[in-house]
Amino acid sequence: MSILEVKDLAVEFNTIEGVVHAVNGVSFSLESRETLGIVGESGSGKSVSMMSLLRLIPEPPGRLRSGTAWFESATGRVDLLALSRAKRSAVRGRDIGFVFQDPMSSLNPLMTVGDQIAESMRVHLKLDDKAARKRTVELLDRVGIPAADERYGNYPHQFSGGMRQRVMIAIAIACGPKLLIADEPTTALDVTVQAQILDLVKSLRDELGLAVIWISHDLGVVAGLADRVIVMYGGMVAESAPVDALYETPRHPYTEGLLQALPRVDQDRGEELRSIEGTPPDLYAAPAACPFAPRCSYAFDRCRREVPPRFTIGDGHESACFFDLEQRRPRSE
Amino acid sequence: MTSKQPQPQPQPQPSSGPDLSPSADPLLDDTRGRVARAAAYTAKLLLRDKGGMIGLTLFLIVVFAAVFAPYIAPHHPLQQDLTRSRQPPAWHDAGSWEYPLGTDSLGRDMFSRIVYGTRVSLTVGFLGVTIAMSIGLVLGLVAGFFGGRVDNAIMGGANLFLAVPYLLIVVVVAAVVGRSLINVVLIFGITDAPLFVRITRGEVLRIRNSGYVESAVSIGAGKGRILFDHILPNLVGPLITVATFEMSAMIFYEAGLGFLGLSVPPNIPSWGNMLSAGRQYLATTPWVATYPGFAIMFTALGMNLFGDWLRDVLDPRLRRKGR
């Protein structure tokens, strides 16, 4: 049973320079206890899509143009995008936990770390101060913060980057949500700390039976964590596949390009690093063709005229591309 | 505000390429182009922002009135006509359009006096700010560049002035040195300088500690180069913005001083003097005090609106974030 089913999500931004079509028809589903990785470059729409699920994008200038997001909340199956404000607040924190990218700016500098964790528990779980404090200390301990009891009264600036991110994770799981959405949580951390956080998330996921959506631009991180991966480009889903299938047999030219661009240990020393030619798509134009076409070495005239739909390739493997990478020729339908 | 890195000298090339004759300085040419483009962009931004446009228009009206006062004012500001004294503005029964805003107790035309008053206000504001900015710029640069004890001494003095209520100093000094336009200008210029010292010094320190000065130094740029290429361009924005607001403040202070009888001598038509005179007969001839006040507000409004716009335009951080 899918815990989250998103269909045709479209988000745009009204700016002075015009309308930015940030997300153009994103659909995916997520099973309970599944980990979904969302990969894409900056501007691909990955963060905007996930944040708009809970309407965390400021509207204005943002605007939800279309989409449904059916979710198994504690009070039944609801469309996240159609919820009233009150019901939405109930879902936030209680059923879905968020971990953001920059832990320093994502924590209130004037509030103790303990209070920030306890806050949502007091609201959603109706815990009194003593109970909330007790559970917060347990959480701090669980996410690996030593001397949790003393640290309750510390302020964010008294923690290091990795520890702050642990606090953010504690905030996210405090009320026992079923879904954890993490938006590039390790991007701002150095590599060793990154590994620790990943391990923490993995162990929490297994212990609490969480479904996880992990957004990243780092293919390596996603490979070690996700069950399935979605690759986004130009506000659309380019490819969607189980993790092994994606990395071994990519079916979208963009994914192929991304994987080829990864420096590999077994590469020849003198070999030049490969990159994807061209520049990111112009999101001011409404999508009328494949957004990757200008940079795609396989593109042909159909790619520039139509937006490619998602073609099913194999078991749970889809690619939005008119070119059949396996057969090395345009798809016949 | 972006600053350009000093460019290395161009190498001579055989065929086509940039003009390398000794007189063509690539830095200067590009600076001209940059200034021209910046001016055009600024003009476009101004036209888009109603507040800024209104502010600039109001200010230009005041400047116009000051410059063309003899042509605009129907009477001489000092001309007394005791038979017409205490006449209300034109729209009252006892008023006439010959004296549109009425007359004061000595029969002087209020409208003309207000128009001529722009001269005093603008002079005080402009000269005062110029003096303050000049002193502030020099002292701030010295403090920022030399640091150490020089810096401490200068900032100590500046902080002293900034800590004491401005008005207190101004009032005491004005009382001591007597009434004259020069005195007023000097007082304002000197007492407002600390603000500019602080701003300049702050900017110098910020840039000194920033990365690109290190890079500039590492490729051989001398102190002079750093000063002109990096520090001064970055100073222009904050200084001009603050100057606009301080000019408006000085117009206020002049009026306040005049109100207390400490500004320019009573024979010179200043808005402050008019308010002071008007206060005496507030109940019987309220227009004498009311309309100069409107003039002050009008000017201050213009300068504040324009200053707000300037600040938004010149602060790259705010521009990026939008409002």
Binding site: L54, L56, P58, R88, S89, V91, R92, G93, G97, F100, S105, S106, L107, N108, P109, L110, M111, E119, S120, V123, H124, Y155, H157, Q158, I171 | G156, L160, A163, V164, P165, Y166, L168, I169, V171, V172, A175, V176, A255, G256, F259, L260, G261, L262, L275, G278, R279, L282, A283, P286, A289, T290, P292, G293, I296, M297, A300, L301, N304, L305, R323
Partner: protein, 306 residues
Amino acid sequence: MQRYLLSRAVQSVLLLFGVIVLVFFLVRLTGDPARLMAPREASAEDIAEIRALMGFDRPLPVQFAEFFTGAIRGDFGNSVHYRAPAMGMVLDRLPATVELALTALLFAVVVGVPLGVVGGSNPGSIWDSIARGLGLVGQTVPNFWIAMIFILVFSVNLGWFPSFGRGHWNSIVLPAVSLGLFPLGQIVRLMRSAVLEIRGEDYIRTAYSKGISDRRIYVAHVFRNAAIPLVSMLGVQFGYLLGGSIYIETIFSWPGLGRMIAESVAARDFPLVQAVAVFTSLVVVAMNLLTDVAYALIDPRIRYDK
């Protein structure tokens, strides 16, 4: 934090010494203060007599030493016109000014903070326009002028409020509103821009993602963070309040320090001028120090600075 506060306290004391020096020299700027104190028609002998009486004929270092030591003790000599100890007179008038300044500030805060917060929370709304308008009004209206307009409208024409003195319970209304208009404008602008900026911060987004109520987000997150610049600004306003009281108290014949400054300066009563100047500066410096203390207490980043 202790070290920071200690250094600020030391700075304040040094500042005060600097003020005493400054006042000393300001009064003697022209070189011959006796001439200023004497009436126009005074003869040279009259002026010399005044000079001897006031001690201006003694060498400068001696004058300064006496002034400085006296100032520290609070002894500024006797007022020339009132023939009473200058400091005593200052202290007598102090409560009236404190009352006026605090009322003006209270007015500015009570009206300005909510308006600024509402305006900043709803950009583009009517409240936002009102907030920005009020901010502009505060900046562009001269307080001495609006005081006169208030008197005209509310005292002379409507008769709602008295126009002078401190006698009635409602005597303070017009003076306080006139004086408080400028701080009101500053506070509205500050709160509006602070709230606007804070609302765009990441930690507000985190707060929303937790599903807590809007009200709680405002109180615990937005407002708490906006309080810091507010506290800073309130401290700064004291300098303005004491300076502006010179005008307001003069116009309303309010028996406070401001009016005393205006009168003593006009009368060239230098002992009194010195007393008032030093004392007023003392108050401002003290308030600034207090503000820094409050700031350090509120902001944990300063409180727990290693």
